[in-house]
Symmetry: C2
Subunit: 203 residues, 2 copies
DNA sequence: GTCTATATTGTGATAGAC
DNA sequence: GTCTATCACAATATAGAC
């Protein structure tokens, strides 16, 4: 349960975030959120009017915290290999701290695909800078020929998938051992950037 | 709508599969399935008793069709690089034919994480054969030193993620252009195995 | 087996006392 | 602002005619 020292509205918000992020919109009950916040469910409506509005508040807040760092990293002006190491390390680290975000995001986008367009517009994600950097490195002969789009999707896949599919992977290849899987994720920070750089570096 | 030449039970089942796979359990309505099957919703209960049971029938059927081919490919006795090309090509191809499966699977596992254990037991997925093969290649000095678990998760990530996160990726780096993204996925069959083999091959 | 009509239940939302 | 009690509605499930 959420601790009681904050204001009521904040307590509701924190409780809603916990529940929504874990279960998604449709598997979450207002009753459950109220209980998590240590109050009656009528109060949720008093402060947020409807379940949908409460959810939107949570979703927007999570996006606001999650998207800008990524957008920023993509535009950072440092050498490519350094940048890959930097992004992978930071990104996996932040996913270790917030492991449910990928599923939360995938589910919500599935439910309401429209909003992805708004999110991109709102936070001004521009992968073009990163694309350009990759193309420059190819022309300079420093890395092998690869479509920038393929490379960036590879990077995202390698970072995010192990969190989105955790129960499956943990069950399939780690005998459902939570600690082993945590260790695996921790090591992955180095492994993934090694894997990528190994693949695109000319030897 | 489902065509009417099959038996009623099969019509229901096909309709339910269409709806459930697209929307997941909680966003699907019995009414909608009935409509899709061209009949009254009372019939769904007559044949399948409850929504939950109908869903389980669909889920089990999908798993039965999706899991064994993967399990089999992992144990196939062919050289490692060939095997990687084979798995990636076949796997991405099957995802192109059934693009909603990853999200369907992730959502359901999230809702009911218990069952993953049963599925693994039921279909006898054994990655050990593949692990052993990788370790042998490392000892023989044919590929670089890498944890087999990391490699296999890399392979799965690179294949599955672009389907699970399609709306996001399509929006972020393909200006929401469906055709471009389909083309991208098609090319990926070759790109992914090249990417992996490039990374682990000793040069 | 298939339908219409109805019962039952779960849950989001509101009214009104305090 | 916070609570209890209640409403309203949607969706699953069943009864019963044919």
């Amino acid at each position: 349960m959420i601790k009681g020292n904050q204001g009521t509205e904040e307590r509701i918000f924190e409780a809603a975030k916990n529940v929504f992020v874990k279960k998604g919109l449709n598997n979450s009950r207002m009753q459950e959120i109220a209980q998590e916040a240590g109050m009656n469910k009528a109060l949720l409506h008093y402060y947020y009017r409807s379940k949908e509005k409460l959810f939107q508040a949570v979703f927007n807040s999570v996006m606001k915290r999650v998207i800008p760092p990524i957008a920023e990293m993509l535009e950072k002006e440092i050498p490519l290999f350094e940048k890959i190491e930097f992004i992978v390390d930071r990104y996996i680290n932040s996913l270790i701290s917030n492991p449910q975000i990928p599923v939360f995001f995938i589910q919500e986008i599935q439910r309401n695909p429209q909003q992805i367009v708004e999110i991109i517009k709102k936070y001004g994600i521009k992968p073009e800078v990163f694309f350009q950097q990759i193309e420059n490195e190819i022309k300079a002969g420093n890395i092998i020929d690869i479509q920038p789009q393929q490379l960036i999707v590879n990077l995202l896949s390698l970072c995010v998938f192990p969190f989105a599919a955790r129960p499956v992977v943990q069950g399939m290849i780690f005998e459902n051992d939570k600690k082993k899987y945590d260790q695996f994720l921790f090591e992955r920070k180095k492994e993934v950037s090694k894997f990528i750089i190994n693949s695109i570096r000319k030897k």
